[in-house]
């Protein structure tokens, strides 16, 4: 199908009608790309992802997905709603809200069951994902008993079990230990290799550097202030500093504490 997978045209949104979260955002997302949404806290990244997943709808402007404008009325059509949910998966920032079943196994199976996948097929997906995320030993456990890293893996597995074409990820590596971050990046790379479009919101510029094809930067005015290749943005130190995106590092040289901004460069650059 020609044209972008998602297109936002001058999208505006305010919580409770009075707290602006997005102010005139326009962007498009191409099929098969890895898109990073970057910005300081409170710039509207999570709202934008929720809108791409049609969990909220714009107050003004339009969101188009797969050529159709997403509206609340459109989602009253059960057929379209089912098809959209099969094609788009969303991993929430807070695993607590996403893990609502009594066991890990039920949480992973929840999506495909609701979306009508046959039980033997669900069992096969469950087996594959438990092996990929090394969850086999905790399938029978209650999600609330898991560590943060395990919860994050289960949330990702629960969305991948749907086998969506598009993965929306809100801060997929936030608060995780380095090994878990590596595990998750490896899975995401494999999923992208399988043709998925991946859109993720993050503050982690390492993730952007390693994983993104395109970066959209959200500004304090809750609008899109720049879209470019990661190399262009990560090398623009002034721009990163102006938008609270620079990691300040402190380390010792001999016995002297040395503090400076952490610089990124595009792979191969």
């Amino acid at each position: 199908m020609a044209g972008p997978l998602f297109e936002l045209r001058d999208v505006r949104y305010a919580y409770h009608g009075k707290y602006p979260a997005l102010r005139g955002v326009s962007l498009s997302i191409e099929r098969g790309t890895r898109v990073a949404l970057v910005g300081a806290n409170g710039t509207g990244k999570s709202t934008l992802l929720a809108m791409l997943d049609a969990l909220i709808f714009p107050d003004g402007g339009a969101v188009l997905a797969m050529g159709k404008e997403l509206t609340a009325e459109l989602f009253e059509d059960a057929g379209f709603s089912l098809e959209f949910r099969r094609r788009v998966g969303f991993v929430f920032q807070n695993p607590e809200v996403q893990l609502f079943c009594p066991t890990v196994e039920e949480d992973i199976a929840f999506g495909p069951l609701q979306l009508g996948a046959p039980v033997p097929e669900i069992r096969a997906r469950l087996e594959r994902l438990s092996s990929v995320f090394k969850l086999s030993d905790i399938l029978g456990r209650a999600p609330h008993q898991l560590s943060v890293g395990e919860k994050r893996k289960v949330t990702l597995a629960s969305v991948l079990a749907i086998e969506p074409e598009v993965l929306l990820l809100d801060e997929p590596t936030a608060g995780l230990d380095p090994q878990t971050v590596r595990d998750i990046i490896a899975v995401l790379l494999a999923e992208h290799g399988g043709g998925k479009t991946i859109v993720f919101a993050t503050h982690d510029l390492h993730l952007v550097e390693e994983f993104a094809d395109v970066v959209h930067v959200m500004g304090p005015e809750k609008n899109l202030i720049r879209s470019a290749a990661p190399g262009d943005i990560l090398l623009d130190q002034d721009f990163l500093e102006m938008n609270n995106l620079v990691h300040i590092h402190a380390h010792r040289h001999a016995d002297m504490l040395h503090i400076h901004a952490h610089r990124h460069s595009r792979r191969g650059a």
């Binding site: 059960a78 949910r85 929840f110 069951l113």
Partner: protein, 281 residues
């Protein structure tokens, strides 16, 4: 001592929360192998309902006591430890009902044949035989009904239980609300526990009853706002994965001969209860 009373408030909050959490999310019993776990959830729910009716219809202690004994037997053969089962079933409701039923023991409320009689300030109070029988039936009826419901919930996975409700044509909105409540209750408990820990970390714990009361008041006032926000996001997370209000489960609900036999036995007990109720009247 104020500190001790303060600790009492703290212990009460944490104890109550962990009990609720354990009670609602004790899914390990539903996952373990046992007699009731192996039963089809729809027929099991129907059989439990028949037994509940039999308990409600019975006007004598003996038949209710027999059904209560059956509950204990079923718990034992369903890998539920009897001490745990007693803790779950005797807590709150039956003990509370015992307090309600206690006045009925006395001749002031239930006149009849005196079993024990005491005189306080020239006022004669007696515990009557009829009072004991009335209060006993009331208490045993509640205890047995609670035990039957706990047996059903302990031995059936949450999703399958909700599925069974839908099989009985319980409206979707009701089942959906129950399903959501299950998740929200847990989230609320987490919120309260975390708030409690946050207060404790900044103040060194609940040092006095007045502080305990203030803490509860803070929790109540913030819980509404936070839970409102949280329930919206949990619902979004469910919608995002295709939730449409129907509880679905991977388990294959197949009716076996043993399921039919169990339901038949429960219906027989109910029929016996109805016959006995008519006969005794």
């Amino acid at each position: 001592m104020g500190t001790r009373r303060g600790r009492f408030v703290e212990r009460t909050i944490t104890g109550a929360l962990s009990f609720i959490k354990e009670s609602i999310f004790a899914d390990e019993y539903a996952s373990s192998r046992g007699f009731l776990q192996a039963r089809d959830p729809r027929l099991k729910a129907a059989a439990i309902f028949a037994l509940l009716l039999a308990v409600l219809l019975s006007r004598e202690i003996a038949p209710i006591a027999c059904i209560y004994a059956l509950c204990l037997l079923l718990a034992a053969v369903s890998s539920i430890g009897i001490p745990y089962f007693l803790k779950r079933t005797w807590f709150f409701v039956p003990l509370f009902s015992l307090c309600i039923a206690a006045p009925a023991l006395f001749s002031i409320f239930t006149p009849g044949e005196a079993l024990i009689s005491v005189t306080i300030f020239s006022f004669n109070i007696a515990i009557t035989k009829q009072g004991v029988a009335g209060a006993g039936i009331f208490f045993l009826r509640i205890l047995t009904s609670v035990s039957l419901c706990v047996l059903l919930s302990l031995t059936t996975r949450h999703q399958r239980l909700l599925g069974a409700l839908r099989a009985f044509r319980v409206p979707q909105v009701f089942v959906m609300t129950l399903g959501m409540c299950h998740r929200y209750v847990y989230s609320f408990i987490e919120l309260i526990q975390n708030s409690h820990l946050a207060i404790k970390s900044r103040s060194g714990g609940v040092r006095s009853p007045s502080m305990g009361r203030r803490m509860v008041a803070w929790n109540i006032s913030t819980l509404w706002r936070r839970s409102y926000d949280l329930h919206g996001r949990v619902y979004q997370a469910m919608i995002s994965r295709g939730y449409r209000g129907e509880p679905l489960s991977m388990d294959d609900d197949r009716v076996t001969a043993a399921d039919i036999l169990c339901l038949g036995a429960a219906i027989l007990i109910l029929a016996g209860g109805i016959w006995r109720a008519r006969f005794s009247s």
